[in-house]
Subunit: 416 residues, 2 copies
């Protein structure tokens, strides 16, 4: 029976080429996270609905995948990794080290309207420090963000940093009302996108005359960093983070509900789709299940955006192919020679495929190597078998040599 | 508001200690898979219900997590990785290399009755070769299984191999009926578990006299390997797989519905909970969505069993901790010295935590290192700061030395 086959809208298959890139990014990120002592955490895809419900606002409740399981329990699919972290912090309180430094890289599900760059299943990639209110923790999260982006190959990444505490000064210093503050902040946050004139213009729509609007903007822009920010900048310097990698940005806001202290965002020069990482301090969220306040600071990497930015900036290694060599099979009688050669290459830590048929046209085998991006092809025909040599084809250089197997091993290893 | 916090029955959190072990196993397996040129594939957690329904028998339909999404679509959570592979094979037919060698390591969900070693969310770990009917592919899957178990540290792993074709000979050679065959095979499959007498006994319950039952058993046991098996064994030898790692086992059956050719199972001496990997050739499944038959052979690793067996046999490295060193902070004034030392260690590829508070009792910091399994602690007090030295504590050896930072780096690197 022939059946209609397709994936659900907003869901994706990752075929090997794409899956390898995703693994490459995950592996590099994990390496940096672990270099700072962050440890992996995994939580289940399904939680009791009541654990997640009401934690992400009305929008979240609407977009959440929720259903009744076979046992009549109301369950929901993971919507982010922060609420599960809060559950873990409450549930295993006595077992976790304080501070608890964890990273988590798992898919989440949101029934969003699918559109460019927005999916219903996507990978979240978070690091958080739970249980420390020290600015050293803020600095570590920022340093780890900067080094992660550097490790991925982004040369012109910059982290913009602000402290939410700054905004409260606006009320006394520019005489705006508490009620007006959120609107003002939301407009200031758009400075990079809409420019100074745009900000003054939008503040105008809120009822501020252009002189007053300009004054508000100038006041914010001229704020000096808070004491916490100064401590963080000093720590970053001591940690050897170059000054051009971060910047105080007094207009940065990143929404208002969630964060309670410093906030930051990473942008990549030449990539305009948005920030590739963002985070800050949020001292009121992790405690929700335990009934006590627990300080926390963290960063979320935009995994899909990172993949997109790296593709655009050509930062993926050329030879991410799984195998370095395809050993062809010339004929049924010579198959065993190919199997032996394959094993020798593998035991020398060279990822090697052996053609999985006892014969078959060489053309077909070469095409297979080409399709999979395998850079080298090894041929063992009757002549090579007799002289105990092999022919090594370099598919990119379109060259070939007849060599001893040891020489092949040296050549390929030398090639990285 | 204090809320009740728990995970759903049959679902698990993996705290860092356990999550690291799982990562360790996954990384080693991926390395072996990639050494053979297997490539990663990822498919979505949710599929259209009709893709999965009816593919796993009545039991599967019952245990599957199925629901209606917000858009009124009937959807189901991934139940295994083979049906999604079949969908991928049909959907991307023209893009995939033939043979298509993929590995896939993703969670699946089954609403089973939770019991020891059985979970509702668990990781599947599969490699398959799609589009090749060559015994070389069978041999490669078996070789890769053996080398994977070896890489994980299992010294006494053995793969039992059989060919389903053998069983059809039973009808002519022992005069049992086609109808009796499945029952007979199911009993023969239990030989390892219930012994020869048990087999004869159970055949007796089917109506075979003890003489006839013994004859049936002896007939099967005396079967020579089929031609396909002989080719596979010859290939394994050429691939350098030691003979004691595998064994022809004519009574092995592994269920009947799914497999169409060779079948195999890996067992670990000293681990009695069951086989840790199993697979075989299944030529009728991958084609279901495309309306054409596509040959395939593969193996599924029992991820949870592997973790359990490795724990029992003590095969995990002692120092799977994320960080090698904790740099303590003596006082606010000396915090910067600790930050600098931390960065230097990290830039020498030593995973390093810096205590995230500018001060705090040394006892508390040492306890933290101990709790996280961090083997070394670095102390920079006023004396050390002045002399430009550090004190390195080895927590396990309960020893300490005053050293230059370069010496610390050499010591820790030398320790692996």
């Amino acid at each position: 029976m022939k059946q209609n086959v397709q994936t659900l809208k907003g869901f994706r298959d990752f075929l090997p080429g794409e899956a390898r890139r995703r693994q490459y990014v995950q592996n590099l990120l994990k390496k940096v996270f672990e270099s700072y002592g962050f440890e992996p955490l995994e939580t289940p895809a399904l939680e009791y609905e009541e654990i997640l419900l009401g934690k992400y606002g009305d929008e979240g409740d609407k977009l959440m995948y929720r259903f009744e399981d076979n046992g009549g329990r109301r369950v929901a699919l993971r919507y982010d990794q922060t609420v599960p972290l809060a559950r873990v912090a409450a549930q295993y309180q006595s077992q976790l080290p304080i501070p608890f430094k964890r990273y988590q890289i798992q898919p989440v599900w949101r029934a969003e309207n699918p559109q460019k760059g927005r999916f219903r299943e996507f990978l979240q990639c978070d690091i958080d420090i739970v249980g420390s209110s020290s600015p050293l923790s803020d600095a570590e999260i920022i340093a780890c963000t900067i080094q992660s982006l550097e490790k991925l190959g982004f040369k012109d990444a910059k982290v913009l940093i602000n402290d939410r505490a700054l905004f409260s000064q606006l009320i006394t210093r520019t005489a705006i009302s508490e009620k007006e503050l959120p609107g003002v902040i939301r407009i200031l946050d758009k400075l990079k996108k809409i420019g100074r004139e745009g900000v003054v213009d939008e503040l105008g729509k809120m009822g501020f005359g252009s002189e007053r609007a300009t004054y508000i903007l100038q006041t914010v822009e001229s704020y000096p960093p808070t004491l916490v920010l100064q401590t963080i900048f000093a720590s970053l310097e001591k940690m050897g983070i170059p000054k051009e990698k971060y910047e105080f940005s007094p207009t940065l806001a990143r929404g208002l509900d969630y964060y309670t202290g410093i906030i930051f965002e990473a942008e990549i020069a030449g990539y305009t789709a948005g920030s590739v990482a963002g985070g800050g301090r949020y001292d009121n969220l992790i405690g929700i299940f335990g009934g006590q306040s627990i300080p926390a600071v963290g960063v979320a990497f935009g995994f899909d955006r990172i993949i997109e930015a790296m593709s655009q900036l050509d930062l993926f290694p050329k030879d991410l192919a799984t195998a370095k060599v395809l050993v062809t099979v010339f004929s049924p009688e010579l198959a065993e020679k190919s199997l032996e050669a394959g094993s020798r290459l593998r035991s020398n830590n060279i990822n090697t495929e052996v053609w999985l048929d006892s014969g078959g046209k060489l053309d077909k085998q070469l095409k297979y190597a080409d399709q999979k991006g395998i850079p080298y092809v090894l041929i063992i025909g009757p002549e090579e078998a007799e002289k105990d040599t092999v022919t090594l084809k370099d598919l990119q250089a379109k060259s070939q040599e007849t060599l001893k197997l040891e020489e092949v091993i040296a050549t390929i290893k030398g090639d990285g």
